[in-house]
Point group: C2
Chain length 343, copies 2
DNA sequence: CTGAAAGCGCTTACAG
DNA sequence: CTGAAAGCGCTTACAG
């Protein structure tokens, strides 16, 4: 904890400008009811002195806070780092600070972080992690979010959050899943294994739904394919790949449901001397910046993460609408070097 | 801005516990001078009610703030994202929120962000961006930092910040530069081009110093090599690579001074059909998570970014020492597939 | 050990 | 349009 020594206070600029602190306050916050002459004088004095209002005093007195809270699963992940970049960009343009929280992919940690943010009295919260399909998690999220909104807070989420009823930026996960699966099917792959994250995540469920639809269009069923669940990370991808290769050595393609996992898959394949794409094709999802520079360059589904971050904060900056807003984020199939015709 | 409706206040728990708010406050903050019986009763009531103190009121009254500010160049960069991950981890363990700021690599923006953080009344600031060699920038940084420290704030930096005199985590940039250059020289490379970021950054200067020393040990001089400056990013790497190839088509190795740039270099080389490492060897610096999974896997210098983030915050969490503390962070040469004997 | 009271630095009805 | 004053929700000397 830090002790402030007394800095410059509103009284100081008020005195110097020869007005009351009430007038000074109004002039500085730009509220109506001050003559332009006085307002201008006060502002000049403040600028001259380098005065900046104490956020805590201001927030306490007004009950309003300019802070924005950002909840991510793991900031070290490129997916979230790129989203955060977009959020920071917009926050900067609006002179707002962003407080960021990790959840470590634990849905209950997410609820706890949400509460911490509410307690920190931020005015806006952006939740970048995927929604969860677990009823209990949903219910808890809902409690926090509604309490926050009831108190005047604004929240926007990235991804589908069932039942939450807040403004959302929703990436085309279903379409992306379908597109990437179509791509593999079109190349003649039938023995496809899926490296997936937790199926309890809405994002995961949606991507799998897309994959399933593509399969059905080809007379196949997702249930007949090995779908290996692991952590939604590079390490998780490795683990999934090992299980896939051990249990289903005849697969011709591994469809990983995010790029991190795909990188892990590529890594295990390389270790085992299995050539990509000659022996096995591999795909990812997200198209993080490095995806096109991997070995081999990764065929994946592009999602505009940074733009999604920007849009989410922009939504949250808007006053609340009567019905939750929904901004779709388009996907785009990126065919690169990690896929080829089935052998 | 958000309007709070009245939440639970300290009075509420004090009343319910049958004590004064003074006692309640002391019990909850764990300060001495309350009987254990009362303290326990108050804590039980607070927990029961789900009471959490209003940070703004607390900060205003006590003059102390638990917030930590983190300044990075660009959170979308894996280097900074990984550092941020370490910072968030430690912050979480200490129940502190972190406010994060972008500088977009503009040193003056860095100074401005620092000031914003000071105004936001955080108690701790971690500066993750490299120090700058420009005198004017240094002086301004120093002013902000000292004002902050004088007011009781704690700051730690990552990287060398000349003249700043604060606790620092200092990566072995000189040694790393020397190691990576040694590696190339050992492979017989002599016509080496350097893809560098701004030489005004201390990090860059240090890495170049290391390179220079290695060269001298082989009777060469950095001044005789093409050192191309560009942005310290993937795009900058591309630009540098183009200039290097156009102006010095005979180089046998490109030594990029961070991984982002190296990725850009690899990308341009691929475009032009130049084989790595057969025609040209390429090296990076930092060893971001994906470096080992690039095409080809990148020979680079490993720096423990996440650990550096952790250590920086841990330093800042310590009370100020009489002399600034210095935690070195070791480098490690990672030889992978992007380098081979000079042709 | 406990409490009444002042004070942190602002904002905002309420008067004028 | 302007100002005196109350109040936001805490902490912390100061008394007892």
């Amino acid at each position: 904890m830090r002790k402030h020594t007394a800095g410059l206070r509103l009284v100081d600029v008020a005195e110097r400008a020869g007005v009351s602190i009430a007038t000074a306050s109004r002039a500085l916050s730009g509220s109506a009811g001050v003559s332009e002459v006085l307002a201008e004088r006060v502002r000049a004095v403040a600028a001259d002195l380098g005065y900046v209002a104490n956020v805590h005093a201001r927030s306490l007195a007004s009950g309003a806070s300019p802070g924005v809270g950002l909840v991510v699963h793991e900031i070290g992940d490129p997916y979230f780092a790129e989203i955060a970049s977009g959020v920071l960009e917009v926050a900067g343009a609006h002179d707002r600070m962003v407080q960021i929280c990790h959840t470590g992919r634990d849905p209950y940690a997410e609820v706890a972080q949400l509460r911490a943010l509410v307690n920190a009295r931020v005015g806006i919260i952006v939740v970048a992690g995927s929604g969860h399909l677990d009823r209990d998690v949903q219910a808890r999220m809902k409690v926090e979010v509604h309490a926050f909104e009831a108190a005047g807070g604004r929240v926007a989420v990235i991804g589908r959050h069932p039942q939450l009823g807040v403004d959302a930026v929703v990436p085309a996960n279903v379409e992306g899943g379908r597109a990437i699966a179509e791509h593999l099917l079109g190349l003649g792959h039938r023995r496809i294994a899926v490296a997936a994250g937790s199926r309890r995540l809405a994002t995961m469920a949606d991507r799998l739904t897309g994959v399933s639809r593509a399969l059905e269009a080809h007379g196949l069923r997702l249930a007949d394919l090995p779908v290996v669940e692991a952590e939604f990370t590079l390490e998780g991808g490795k683990e999934a790949a090992r299980r896939i290769l051990d249990e289903h050595p005849d697969v011709t393609a591994v469809l990983a449901l995010n790029d991190d996992m795909a990188v892990g898959v590529l890594s295990v394949l390389r270790e085992r001397g299995i050539s990509v794409p000659d022996d096995v094709s591999v795909t990812g999802f997200d198209d993080v910046t490095v995806a096109g520079h991997l070995s081999p360059a990764l065929t994946t589904v592009h999602l505009p993460m940074k733009e999604m971050g920007r849009q989410a904060l922009e939504l949250a900056l808007l006053p609340r609408a009567t019905r939750p807003r929904r901004r779709p984020a388009a996907q785009r199939l990126m065919v690169r070097a990690s896929t080829s015709r089935a052998r």
